[in-house]
């Protein structure tokens, strides 16, 4: 339990460094620091920034896995640094920025394209029918249908881990498709067809080859590939295949 948080141990953080402003290529820096087993990898990064090298640059805000700021590659796997505990790490912890997005500085990548892709799928509830006086009714079963998809925190881990996205940067990517799912299957939405059309184009669902990297890297354990498959099925039904 938390008491085991007391035993300090030395850990080596190997961190990939790069600054658009100063460097032409990246390098690896190593920091040796004391950590407790129940501390987060994020605590380690904070400690390095605070006491060893103030120029180390990474994003974070909530500190507990809900804001989506701190996704990065930790020992080869995309994870949230605020949800990854030291006790689950080997003595050497390798930290890199998310792949496939342009690096701005150290662990910070440019996420503009990631967010823009999202805009393309009409990511908002559309329903022009005059609303009832009270809430629109939605059964628990109907809500269950979108329950997983609404937990997405837009961390970018999935899209960054997708080999299709690496080769086709126009591909919408798993998280935008998941966003489309969230509205297409919301019983209150009325723009399903339009959205379905958008995600079944040349850079949409059909590019997904069910490689499952996204599922493995999602910190919210969303079965993204399952959701994409269901959208493919729906698109087929509507004759929206390529």
């Amino acid at each position: 339990m938390h008491d085991s948080g007391c035993l300090m141990g030395k850990y080596r953080f190997r961190i990939k460094r790069f600054s658009q402003e100063e460097d032409s290529s990246s390098r690896w820096d190593t920091f040796s620091i004391d950590m407790k087993p129940m501390e987060r990898v994020l605590d380690g990064l904070d400690r390095i920034k605070d006491y060893a090298d103030g120029s180390l640059t990474f994003r974070r805000s909530c500190g507990h896995g809900i804001c989506g700021s701190c996704a990065m590659k930790i020992n080869g796997r995309n994870r949230l640094s605020c949800q990854t505990l030291i006790k689950d790490m080997p003595e050497t912890i390798r930290i890199e920025p998310l792949e496939a997005f342009p690096v701005i500085k150290d662990i910070v990548v440019d996420m503009d394209d990631f967010f823009k892709k999202n805009d393309y799928v009409l990511p908002y509830l559309i329903n022009d029918e005059p609303p009832p006086e009270r809430e629109r009714l939605q059964s628990q079963a109907e809500q269950e249908k979108i329950l997983e998809s609404i937990t997405c925190i837009m961390c970018g881990s999935c899209t960054s881990s997708c080999p299709i996205y690496w080769t086709d940067n126009q591909y919408l990517g798993p998280s935008s498709i998941l966003k489309a799912y969230r509205f297409i299957f919301d019983s209150r939405d009325r723009a399903k067809e339009e959205r379905l059309g958008k995600i079944s184009g040349a850079h949409g669902v059909w590019r997904c080859h069910s490689i499952f990297n996204c599922v493995e890297s999602c910190p919210k354990e969303i079965d993204i590939t399952g959701h994409i498959t269901e959208l493919k099925r729906l698109a087929l039904k509507k004759n929206l295949h390529l």
């Binding site: 339990m1 938390h2 085991s4 948080g5 600054s19 402003e21 100063e22 129940m38 987060r40 920034k49 605070d50 006491y51 090298d53 103030g54 120029s55 640059t57 990474f58 974070r60 805000s61 909530c62 500190g63 507990h64 896995g65 809900i66 804001c67 989506g68 700021s69 949800q83 505990l85 701005i104 500085k105 910070v108 440019d110 996420m111 967010f115 805009d119 990511p123 908002y124 509830l125 559309i126 329903n127 609303p131 006086e133 009270r134 809430e135 629109r136 009714l137 939605q138 059964s139 628990q140 109907e142 809500q143 979108i146 609404i150 937990t151 925190i153 837009m154 919301d186 209150r188 939405d189």
Partner: protein, 574 residues
């Protein structure tokens, strides 16, 4: 670079987003934030948003009104509270129509649960008033509002850090910002500027607040001689995870969780016989710390247990999935099998920028307003929370008063010209940045920050006393001097988060001094402000709001009356 917008909104938490939707009906809107919009602190809100929908059992806005006044320890302004509670039902239904995926009852209506201080029939028994989306309510609402803002064409400027808010001759002209990724200055002149920059819980060591909650804009305004109201009232939440402060929502007690001490007693029965574990937060925090002080912590240590073991596993899975995950990840325990070690954690700022019921910012105790300047959400003080906020009333505050501010802006910008920001204003910001970047000082940001957070926790959290507060104020003065000697490792311009940390630290110091000074000044105990040397509430002298002004001679205090329309002050028992 220079920009011009009808409305500029600082920050994309719930208050900012809700206001943006409204203001966009009257002209173009820019929303700036130091984070991406979906990363705002509001996404962390777990438990729920309050409204007397009566979906689960009879409830009335009137009871909500009473509970909020009593929860506020009678310091809340009743005109504003009444507006909020009356508007709550409409506000929640509207959120539902905008797409928020609220959890549902078997009939398909918005589900509701118990929360601290929510009662029926003016205090008779707990009532289910908290509307929720599992324990991800803030996340669900932020996404829905952000999405609707996109539909409305609101222009977002993510990762823009506000350096200054330009106010000249009782008129706000706009803001000066730093684009974090490039290090360039961007000047936004506007007809109306809304501050919705959230709280500053980071000034304390143990906190549930995000790294971004440093209160920059309040400090900027204070330095621009806008007073800050009721800053002595800072809420601690009873159940932060022991050691790290991550929040376990009051919804956990709403679903039946209880607090137990080292002797296995359900001690809240002694402190609040009627509603027990669902008493307001100020009372529960004091009860917990009293148990600990008297040696009844777990194994005599400095924490107690939140026990959820008797709650059906299915309920935990469906209604409290996130906090169950937090317990597993951060404590290595399964809350259905083991009790959760908890301690009070810094949570919410009741005080802030004084405003009227439409978000207009006051510049004195007489009610003069700054033209073109508005504030809403946690950074503002309307005041609906008075000396102690009730759970679920903050999210409600953001959407009700965010919307009202947005409406007022929409109407007023028709008559206002664009603000004009002169180059010498920019020079001030440029000098600030240059002086930090070029300093070869020896102090480290983290040392000063940790020192501040430790001292604030020690002397200005749940229990306070004159001697300690005086000592604290002196040490803040010393810490302020030490900040002048900060030297950065990172001298670059692009994405310099060390630079941001340095500026945030200055703001945290400014606010800490205001908090501690206001706490020293108020010689009574009310709501979240508890003075061990003045343990009683004193309505004859202190039934009034504090306004702290910056002057050449230091902080000066003035006061304004509490608006009492319906409920007279009474002894606060639960």
């Amino acid at each position: 670079m220079r920009h011009q917008f009808d409305t500029v909104i600082i920050c994309s938490g719930l208050a900012g987003l809700r206001a943006a939707l409204e203001a966009s009906n009257g002209g173009n809107v820019a929303v700036l934030s130091k984070l991406y919009p979906t990363r705002s602190h509001s996404t962390t809100a777990q438990g729920g948003i309050g409204a007397a929908l009566g979906n689960e059992e009879p409830d009335k806005p009137e009871w909500h009104f009473y509970d909020t006044v009593k929860g506020s320890d009678f310091l809340g302004d009743q005109d504003a509270i009444e507006i909020m509670c009356e508007d709550a039902i409409r506000a929640i239904i509207e959120l539902e129509h905008l797409g928020v995926p609220f959890s549902r009852t078997p009939e398909g209506r918005i589900a509701q649960r118990y929360f601290g201080g929510h009662t029926r029939d003016f205090g008779v028994a707990p009532v289910r008033r908290a509307c929720y989306s599992a324990d991800r309510t803030g996340h669900a609402i932020v996404f829905a509002l952000y999405e609707q803002c996109q539909l409305k064409g609101v222009k977002f400027f993510p990762e823009f850090f506000v350096l200054d808010i330009v106010i000249e001759n009782t008129r706000c002209h706009g803001v000066i910002t730093l684009e974090i990724s490039t290090g360039e200055f961007h000047i936004f002149s506007s007809k109306a500027t809304l501050i919705a920059s959230g709280g500053y819980g980071r000034v304390f060591k143990t906190t549930s607040n995000a790294y971004a909650s440093t209160g920059d804009c309040l400090s900027i305004l204070f330095n621009r001689v806008i007073p800050l109201e009721d800053m002595e009232f800072f809420q601690f939440h009873p159940t932060g995870l022991y050691g790290i402060g991550i929040l376990i929502t009051e919804g956990a007690r709403g679903e039946g969780g209880i607090l137990i001490n080292g002797k296995g007693e359900r001690f809240m029965e002694r402190y609040a016989p009627t509603i027990k574990d669902l008493a307001p937060r100020d009372m529960v925090c004091r009860a917990i710390l009293t148990e600990i002080r008297e040696g009844r912590g777990i194994d005599g240590k400095d924490y107690i247990y939140l026990d959820l073991r008797h709650i059906p596993k299915k309920t935990l899975q469906e209604r409290l999935p996130e906090i169950s995950t937090f317990c597993k990840i951060y404590m290595g325990i399964d809350p259905s099998e083991q009790p959760i070690p908890v301690i009070p954690t810094a949570h919410y700022t009741m005080g802030g920028i004084p405003t009227d019921i439409d978000g207009r910012v006051f510049m004195d105790e007489k009610g003069s307003v700054v033209n073109g300047l508005f504030a809403a959400g946690e950074c503002a003080c309307v005041s609906v929370h008075g000396a102690n906020r009730l759970g679920c009333n903050s999210l409600l505050d953001t959407v009700v008063f965010g919307r009202r501010a947005g409406n007022a802006i929409r109407d007023e910008i028709k008559e206002i010209e664009y603000g004009r920001i002169r180059n010498n204003e920019l020079e001030k910001s440029r000098m600030l940045i240059d002086s930090i970047l070029t300093s070869d000082g020896k102090e480290k940001i983290a040392n000063i920050r940790t020192d501040l957070q430790d001292r604030m926790m020690e002397h200005c959290s749940v229990f306070r006393e004159e001697k300690n507060l005086k000592g604290l104020i002196d040490s803040i003065g010393i810490l302020k001097e030490r900040t002048e000697d900060i030297g950065l490792k990172d001298k670059t311009r692009k994405f310099n988060t060390e630079l941001i940390d340095a500026i945030e630290l200055k703001h945290m110091l400014t606010l800490s001094e205001v908090i501690a000074s206001s706490a020293l000044e108020r010689k009574e105990s009310r709501g979240a402000h508890y003075r061990e040397d003045h343990p009683e509430r004193d309505d004859t002298i202190w039934m009034k709001h504090t306004l702290a002004f910056k002057t050449d001679k230091g902080i000066e205090f003035r006061y304004k009356p509490v608006k009492i329309t319906r409920f007279k002050s009474e002894e606060r028992r639960y």
